[in-house]
């Protein structure tokens, strides 16, 4: 009996899943963390249950009343009964509808509220993280968690309500009503549930995986297309369009294969469900007819109308079973989302210490500073000694990956050094505190980040109290006056999210304006001139030096031309300072520096 054993196998698998769902760790563990978000809606959820009971029972009563019309009305030729029962049905139908609408209102409130609370919590948490925890999950990881995962969970919350509240009521209600007319028919109905589940579940089980797979193939085709469009010049230069077209045609054909596979499997669900429902109807009619011929049963109240009514409960039951099957399909995916979201929610906040707003001033000293990123054994920087005297302009020069940006992160106290110490004006960073440090160091970061909002908003992030004139002044220094004046809105010109409507050089200059507007002890520019041409850079630097005269500046760069004129230059390579001094001194003493200058400026600049 191979067929039987296969069914047995399935049944065991199903049992295992049910067990996992009902009691074992991972699911309940994951759900437990989401439950607090449902807690504020406890009352509403109970109300939902009550309303659901009301409208399910209301709907389920109709076939029963119909059987009474047949048995007591038509058979007895009693008009009064038919009208009375009809009016009762109408009343029930209306009550059932009102109950359903009310439940819809409550559910809408719960699901919108739940989604709102969860979206806000994860964003609040993410923005309160310190850098160590932030980079543990990473930018794109956090983005997925706070958008895709959260919306998956929110969408599933209504499904969850369905499974916990609606499905049991549907199933129990259907069977209970069936018992009103006949015990055996009710038992057949009860037995049809696991049978329907066994037919449905294997079909829908792998659907999620198949959909994901065909999504991957769609992504692959799109990726190839994007690659081809972005490389159109190179492709045409080498006359490779035919080759690239072949690659995409192949990917498209592969993609079609997997889309067909997923769609075909999903396509089986409907016809097979219908078949299961219909065959159950036939079986119940046959059994009902058989039982009707037993005079004892008939005397006990089994009627033709009763059999006809019971048959109508099959649809109700099947509906419940379908809901349950789909839930099982999405459960594994849901679990992954919940775990990823709770992973973020469980992280600790960065301790919020506001500074007291004092500008400390004085020398900035790094003493024997070493640092390894959390989880990494390799030190990114080590033994770094730098002293920038108050009012000096220092340069930190080195290639990509030399450790320049890490030093900036230490200066801003994004991370604390693992060795050595940093002090400002004779006070150590620990003493000043994280908030205080960030008030005293004003940095223009590499990317030249701008945010959605007006030009004014973006610059005023440096100093919320600054007036329009102060903002105009720093924009002028940043060589952005022309830009501001070219738009009729002026300072009110709206920058798009992430500054999508302006160029990289403009972003850098806005970020410079913001940085110098902020009152601080030390001003740091991290590769902030890289997107500017020589002419603009030259004008900007001249204006900058006038504006920041007497202030401490640190310029982090890869360009020798940018570093040359600074009071002191630190040359960094592989995490260590390999040279300190002025341009002239370093040309004599530091091989690395000489190499940089020679490669960038040619022989004549030496």
């Amino acid at each position: 009996m191979p067929c039987f054993s296969a069914a047995n196998e399935r049944f065991r698998e199903l049992n295992r899943r049910l067990l996992v769902f009902c009691r074992a760790g991972p699911y309940t563990e994951a759900m437990k963390k989401i439950f607090p978000f449902l807690k504020p809606y406890k009352k509403q959820l109970i109300l939902t249950g009550a309303l659901c009971l009301l409208f399910t029972l209301g709907g389920a009563f109709l076939p029963y009343l119909m059987s009474r019309i047949v048995d007591d009305g038509i058979a007895a030729g009693n008009m009064g009964v038919i009208l009375k029962l009809g009016a009762l049905m109408l009343g029930l139908a209306v009550i059932s509808m009102l109950g359903a609408i009310w439940m819809g209102a409550v559910n809408a409130r719960v699901s919108a509220g739940f989604s709102h609370d969860l979206t806000r919590s994860i964003f609040d948490k993410a923005s309160a993280l310190d850098f160590e925890n932030f980079s543990k999950i990473g930018t794109s990881g956090l983005l997925t968690r706070s958008t895709h995962d959260v919306s998956t969970i929110s969408g599933a919350s209504s499904m969850f309500v369905n499974v916990v509240v609606v499905v049991p009521i549907l199933l129990a209600g259907g069977v209970a009503f069936a018992f009103l007319s006949d015990r055996v028919l009710a038992l057949i109905l009860l037995a049809s549930m696991p049978v329907a589940f066994l037919i449905l579940f294997p079909i829908v089980r792998h659907l999620d995986g198949l959909w994901k797979l065909s999504d991957e193939y769609i992504d692959e085709q799109n990726r190839l297309m994007r690659e081809r469009l972005s490389g159109v010049r190179v492709i045409r230069a080498f006359d490779k369009e035919a080759h690239e077209h072949g690659r995409i045609a192949h990917a498209t054909e592969e993609m079609a294969k997997y889309i067909i596979r997923a769609n075909v499997r999903a396509g089986y669900v409907n016809p097979l469900c219908m078949l299961a429902l219909n065959l159950a109807t036939v079986v119940m009619l046959a059994v009902g007819a058989n039982r009707l011929q037993d005079p004892g049963l008939m005397n006990a109240g089994l009627t033709a109308g009763g059999i006809i009514a019971t048959v109508q409960y099959v649809a109700l039951i099947l509906n419940g079973v379908m809901m349950l099957s789909w839930t099982f399909v999405f459960l594994p995916h849901l679990k992954v989302c919940v775990n990823r979201v709770t992973e973020v929610l469980d992280l600790p906040d960065e301790p919020a210490e506001a500074g007291d707003g004092t500008i400390i001033g004085g020398d900035l000293v790094l003493e024997n500073v070493g640092f390894a990123y959390p989880g990494s054994e390799l030190k990114t920087v080590s033994g770094v000694n730098m002293t920038v005297k108050a009012g000096q302009t220092a340069a930190l020069i080195g290639g990509t990956g030399s450790g320049k940006s890490t030093i900036l992160k230490l200066l801003l106290d994004f991370y604390a050094p693992t060795e050595g110490s940093i002090s400002l004006g004779g006070r150590s960073y620990e003493e000043i505190g994280r908030g205080g440090v960030r008030e005293n160091i004003s940095a223009a970061l590499q990317k030249g980040m701008v945010f959605e909002g007006t030009l004014l908003d973006n610059v005023r992030m440096g100093d919320p109290d600054a007036d329009d004139n102060a903002v105009k002044n720093v924009l002028d220094i940043a060589q952005m006056t022309e830009f501001a004046e070219s738009h009729e809105e002026g300072l009110a010109y709206r920058l798009a999210q992430s500054g999508a409507n302006i160029s990289g050089g403009q972003k850098q200059r806005i970020s410079i304006a913001r940085t110098i507007l902020k009152p601080a002890s030390v001003y740091v520019f991290d590769d902030s001139f890289s997107a500017l041409d020589f002419l603009t850079e030259s004008k900007l630097r001249k204006a900058l030096n006038r504006y920041l005269a007497g202030k401490t500046q640190i310029i982090i760069t890869q360009r020798a031309a940018t570093a040359m004129r600074c009071d002191v230059i630190f040359v960094i390579e592989q995490g260590s300072i390999v040279g300190t001094g002025t341009h002239a001194e370093l040309m004599k003493t530091c091989e690395v520096y000489r190499e940089i200058v020679r490669s960038q400026l040619g022989g004549d600049a030496v």
Partner: protein
């Protein structure tokens, strides 16, 4: 009027594109016809069964003599089961046909045609159309077209036939009850469509807010260091909370409106059900119009069936609007003007003489860029293009490679007019190394051999050696077979540039176009790149988009570009003597130095 016309044309064109699968569509229609016929028969059989049950029970429960024809009842049960099974099987068969045929021979075919089309579209089209747009036409829009063709049979053939069949059958059974069904069931659909339209308004606003929310989140996380450095956490949180609040309000309203569709539809369907029960009951009790319990059952079933096709037809029509919009976008791309190829001349001899003769060019006719440009470059000479960022230095590359065509004048390579030869022949004398290094996802070996797939392994290795990247490649675990893709992190920007230089070496062509790397390159690699580029330029005519002083000084011709136009032209000495824009740029660098 005119719009209706173009819509009609679009529909006709879709039909034309389904021609290759027409045979299959006919077969699908035939199969769905069987399925419809079988499903229409079942309520009739159920009617007979119910009547048989009732006719036995009615006298029997009063103790009167009653006969139950078991054989006939059994036959009818078997017949019913067979009709159900047949209908489901036909549905499955149709589903299999449509999925396979439409996906393989319709959507897939259109996508391949679009990809093929790109081969013949000018670079101008690709530059001007956002990549995402082209990709979305190819995936989303084509998929909408496929869905419509797919559901065409479902909605039009089975939907309409089923509807017609049901109406005929129920009017034959009992016109009064039939009238009740025909009036009440569509009413529910009308109501649900009305409400759905309302809720869609809110969902559109949810989607819009969600888009803003995504952008805000992305902005905050990518700029996390700036947010922290300037204490902007609170501001971002407040903005996020405001968006979340908007979304909550819209989502709640939309979800509520959407959720009342179901109960209202259920109520109208229930009213139809109740009407059938009451009216049918009264008729049956009085033995009017030949009404029986079985007929009531059949009516209930037909009424339930009635809603399905109505819904799918309504859905089909709303889908049609979307499909027409999508297909128009797809066909617009397929109809884009293609490049024409001239074939009067064959490839240049490969000496490396280049001449621009009175060239006029502009990207936008309203803003002329280059007017009457004449340059004479002899074989082996070096031309440097300098100017501020975003000033339009790549225009020269676009014209040389014929990515764009001149508006006036002509360009000669080795004395041959480039507009009289096929583009591929012209390009066969050029090598390019661009700043945004383009490598395709594939092995390092294939990437180097891209320009010359017939090269021997030794030649590929030699090219890599000359580009100073051979040792690095060999140090990778998979050597030359290392696959480069989006996730590749162990190859730096500078190394990628060296790979493209190796590619240019291997292609070994007489004219070079170089775009110097400026950022994301460490000092050592930068020296390497500089050295290999100098090496590569030996004995070749070269056009260099210059960012370094050293490149400019020894060039045979310097083109100074600003705001898209060539403002000055000459050697380093000539230009300095002129004391114009070039002198200003050059001196600005020295100001930084001194």
């Amino acid at each position: 009027m005119k719009k209706g016309n173009t819509s009609g044309k679009t529909v006709l064109r879709i039909l034309k594109d389904t021609k290759p699968i027409a045979g299959w569509l006919v077969l699908g229609a035939f199969v769905s016809l069987i399925s419809v016929a079988l499903s229409l028969v079942t309520p009739e059989i159920l009617r007979a069964l119910s009547d048989r049950l009732y006719d036995y029970w009615e006298p029997a429960h009063l103790g009167q003599p009653a006969v139950f024809d078991k054989a006939k009842f059994g036959m009818e049960c078997v017949l019913l089961a067979a009709a159900y099974a047949g209908s489901s099987l036909a549905m499955i068969f149709e589903m299999l046909i449509m999925n396979n045929v439409v996906s393989r021979h319709f959507t897939c075919a259109i996508r391949i045609r679009m990809s093929d089309k790109i081969r013949r579209l000018p670079v101008r089209y690709i530059d001007q159309t956002p990549n995402g747009e082209i990709i979305s036409h190819m995936t989303d829009d084509v998929s909408v077209m496929g869905t419509t063709v797919h559901s065409f049979l479902e909605t039009l053939i089975s939907g309409v036939l089923k509807l017609a069949g049901i109406i005929v059958l129920i009017f034959m059974l009992n016109p009064i009850l039939a009238a009740a069904v025909v009036v009440l069931v569509p009413l529910s659909l009308f109501l649900s469509a009305k409400i759905a339209g309302r809720s869609e308004k809110y969902f559109a606003s949810v989607r819009k807010t969600n888009g803003k929310l995504y952008a805000l989140t992305e902005e905050t996380f990518t700029g996390f260091d700036t947010v922290k450095a300037f204490h902007q956490e609170k501001r971002q949180r407040e903005r996020q909370a405001a968006l979340c609040g908007d979304m909550r309000a819209a989502a709640q309203k939309g979800t509520f409106l959407a959720s009342i569709v179901q109960p209202i539809v259920a109520l109208t369907n229930n009213i139809a059900y109740i009407a059938i029960c009451i009216i049918g009951g009264i008729f049956a009790a009085n033995n009017l119009f030949g009404m029986s319990v079985g007929t009531i059952v059949a009516f209930v079933l037909y009424a339930r069936m009635f809603a399905g096709p109505l819904e799918s037809i309504a859905q089909g029509f709303s889908m049609l609007q979307q499909t027409i919009a999508s297909s128009e976008r797809v066909y617009k791309m397929l109809d884009e003007e293609e490049m024409t190829e001239a074939t009067e001349e064959t490839a240049p001899d490969g000496v490396g003489n280049v001449r621009f003769e009175n060239v006029d060019f502009s990207y936008d006719p309203k803003q002329p860029l280059i007017k009457g440009l004449t340059i004479n470059v002899r074989a082996g000479e070096k031309v440097a293009v300098v100017g501020p960022t975003g000033g339009g230095k790549t225009t020269i590359v676009n014209l040389l490679m014929r990515f764009y065509d001149v508006d006036g004048g002509r360009i000669l390579v080795d004395g041959k007019d480039v507009y009289r030869m096929p583009r591929s022949e012209l390009r066969s004398v050029f090598s390019m190394v661009l700043q945004d290094t383009w490598l395709f996802s594939g092995t390092i070996y294939d990437n180097i051999a891209y320009g010359r797939p017939d090269a021997t392994e030794e030649e590929v290795h030699e090219a890599a050696r000359r580009a100073h990247i051979d040792r690095f490649i060999r140090s990778l675990p998979d050597g030359y077979n290392t696959v480069i893709n989006e996730e590749t992190t162990n190859i730096s920007g500078g190394q990628k540039q060296l790979l493209t230089i190796a590619r240019a070496y291997l292609a070994n062509r007489p004219i070079l176009i170089l775009d110097e790397a400026t950022s994301n390159v460490d000092t050592r690699t930068e020296i390497l790149i500089q050295r290999t580029m100098d090496d590569l330029m030996k004995d070749r005519t070269s056009f260099v988009i210059a960012h370094r002083l050293s490149t400019i000084v020894d060039a045979d011709t310097i083109l100074v570009v600003n705001h898209g136009t060539i403002v000055e032209q000459g050697t380093h000495k000539e230009l300095l003597a002129k004391n114009g824009f070039y002198a200003e740029i050059y001196n600005s660098q020295y100001e930084l130095l001194n």
